[in-house]
């Protein structure tokens, strides 16, 4: 199966007062149609920037991208229009991602209006169909976002993303702001939609337990770089990178039996502004040794399992 999305050495730097901030620094991956790639990392690791750069909401500093067999690194205006109809985004915050002065119907219909391919009556019908498919009752059509709870708002965001019938959706922490019981409803909705429409997801989150549920492959990012990528089950079964290990052990498990010892990280987080060539996790890593100040290469330790740590085989 050919890859739907292919990303090579993607870079996104931001100019700041004190130097270049390396938000995304040399990311490679390819994603098959109908699959879900989970991107995990803590705040500031560049996972949201990665998603926005792929969607051309931000301009890439370097690297190549191709989508559906076509190069999309520097699309022309008209190409970008077509591209955005195939690639969409669902945002984290269902409060700030909806225009407070637009009704539910207006928000969902906006992409169709801009596309301008349907007559008005069809647009209204399509909007209702979209609302129905994300589980929003028709009576909310004229409601405003502030009148609805977080779960329903997130359904609006999903309906808006689906309105142009995209193939690929970047989900930027879509459930982080929701309560547990609502979060489960939205995750299930997203899984259902993926099955029905054959969607491909890039699911960006800081929550490893959520990502395990929804992903086929998981990429762990640290300060703009990929430190480990593996099929979901394998990442949890055979964790290789010291950062992934620490991240996994830090998640409080809801249960009182079989507690594992937490790996506590010490040391300051390396600044993403003009970072050195070595491993960026070094300052907090308890296995840090001399070889860590050299650039780390991505090594395939088993099929589909990549890790960027030169001593990953030696640590337990």
């Amino acid at each position: 199966m050919p890859a739907l999305l292919e990303v090579q050495d993607l870079k996104k730097y931001f100019r700041t007062g004190s130097g270049m901030l390396h938000a995304v620094d040399g990311i490679n991956f390819s994603l098959e149609a109908g699959k879900t790639l989970g991107v995990v990392g803590e705040s500031g690791c560049g996972k949201s920037t990665l998603g926005r750069t792929i969607l051309h909401l931000l301009d890439a500093t370097g690297g190549r991208m191709s989508f559906d067999g076509e190069d999309i690194t520097n699309p022309k205006r008209a190409e970008l229009r077509g591209l955005r109809e195939k690639m969409q985004i669902i945002f984290q915050d269902p409060y700030s991602s909806l225009d407070p002065r637009k009704s539910v119907g207006e928000t969902i219909m906006e992409p169709l209006k801009i596309q301008g391919a349907l007559p008005k009556g069809d647009m209204i019908a399509e909007t209702r169909r979209l609302m129905d498919s994300v589980g929003l009752a028709a009576r909310f059509e004229n409601s405003y976002p502030h009148e609805l709870d977080g779960g329903r708002r997130q359904r609006i965001g999903i309906a808006r993303a689906l309105s142009l019938n995209p193939k690929f959706i970047v989900c930027d922490e879509p459930v982080s702001a929701l309560d547990v019981s609502i979060q489960a409803q939205i995750i299930n909705l997203m899984l259902d939609l993926q099955e029905e429409r054959g969607l491909t997801y890039m699911f960006v989150t800081h929550d490893l337990s959520v990502v395990k549920y929804i992903s086929d492959d998981i990429m762990v990012m640290y300060l703009g770089q990929m430190v480990e990528m593996a099929p979901a089950d394998e990442l949890f079964r055979d964790t290789r990178h010291p950062y992934t290990k620490a991240l996994l052990s830090a998640i409080p498990i809801p249960g009182i039996h079989g507690k594992t010892k937490r790996i506590l990280l010490r040391g300051e987080i390396t600044s993403p502004i003009n970072p050195g060539p070595g491993c960026r996790f070094m300052a907090r890593c308890r296995h840090a040794s001399e070889g860590c100040s050299q650039p780390q290469t991505l090594e395939e330790c088993s099929p589909g399992h990549f890790v960027a740590c030169h001593i990953h085989g030696e640590i337990v």
Binding site: V180, A184, S209, Y213, A250, P252, P254, G255, L265
Partner: protein, 324 residues
């Protein structure tokens, strides 16, 4: 006998918010005790009334619109709700301290962190500036921040460090009860692990009782001795951590566990609770969970179930609670 170990006792507390159009029933006649040295977790979703409970204890509910319509809060036998503000001020911060979710808003951006901690100490103990500074340094050390950062400003700290400073401030006067309102929600997991570990060791050292308000069952299971599950302004289940995690009795508690994505799970689908929390301005007459409950019967929507103790210390507010 039992009464003696109770540091804090809440009886029949009810809080309402009155606005022009509607009355929000935020806390609905709840009872709760915190024993000395105990850590109790208050678990529930947004809008369940957890924060209103904590604010009532500290007497910092915004009144109006809030109104305490019934109940009493006994702290070491003293009724806090009838205490004059002057007396309350001596307890607040000194005996009972609170940590808020957002460390950014709790710190003054134009004063050094050391000064802010020292100020808190001086407000409650009449000590000299030098003495207060010395104790502030000790506090910083205790939460794992180098003394050399005494003169730094809040913006020079990362989020996790700021939350530690806030904790240092809250613990500066050696309070007997610490109310922690989602203290780690805004933090990354690796930083959360550090902060929780630190709070754990401080609690053991200082013997502070803690009321931890959170929506994260994982944090509760790692940090708390007992748990109260809050739903739509009511405590639907309370008991020890073992009671709640091994023998959950209320359908809502069960539903919460079903909704939770777990690292150790194998199935591909979560089992969410259907529907959503009732509108707090228009709560059902019977059990507040009945619209979402898989076991609901006729009687559930007619009258609210009473709390029944299914094992010593393990109480469930449900008609289907297994009787002892």
């Amino acid at each position: 006998m039992e009464e003696q170990g109770n540091l804090l006792e809440i009886r029949d507390l009810a809080v309402e918010y009155h606005t022009d159009e509607a009355t929000i029933y935020a806390v609905n006649h709840i009872g709760l005790t915190v024993k000395k040295g105990e850590t109790i977790g208050l678990v529930g979703e947004t809008g369940a009334g957890k924060t209103s409970i904590a604010r009532s204890i500290l007497g910092i509910l915004p009144m109006p619109p809030a109104k305490i319509v019934s109940g009493e809060i006994l702290y070491r036998g003293n009724e806090l709700l009838r205490l004059p503000e002057r007396e309350m001020r001596k307890i607040r911060g000194n005996k009972i301290a609170m940590i808020f979710q957002d460390p950014m808003t709790a710190l003054n951006p134009i004063e050094t962190v050391g000064f802010q901690i020292a100020e808190t100490i001086r407000q409650h103990d009449s000590v000299s500036q030098v003495e207060a500074n010395r104790r502030a340094c000790d506090m910083l050390e205790m939460v794992g921040i180098a003394m050399g950062r005494f003169g730094d400003f809040p913006h020079q700290f990362s989020g996790g460090m700021k939350q530690r400073v806030v904790i240092a401030m809250a613990l500066a006067c050696n309070p007997e009860l610490l109310l922690a309102d989602e203290p780690t929600t805004a933090l990354d997991v690796t930083i959360q692990a550090q902060v929780l570990e630190m709070m754990q060791s401080l609690r053991e050292r200082l013997e502070t009782s803690v009321m931890l308000i959170t929506h994260d069952l994982g944090v509760v299971s790692e940090f708390c001795d007992s748990v109260a599950v809050v739903y739509a302004g009511e405590i639907v289940e309370r008991g020890t951590v073992e009671d709640i995690f091994d023998r959950p009795g209320h359908p809502y508690t069960l539903g919460l566990f079903g909704s939770l994505p777990r690292l150790d799970a194998t199935e591909r689908r979560l089992k969410p609770i259907k529907g959503r929390m009732p509108d707090p301005t228009n709560v059902p007459e019977g059990c507040r969970f009945c619209d979402r409950c898989p076991r609901a019967e006729d009687r559930c929507s007619k009258s609210p179930p009473a709390e029944s103790e299914i094992a010593p210390g393990h109480a469930v507010k449900c008609f289907f609670a297994p009787q002892r």
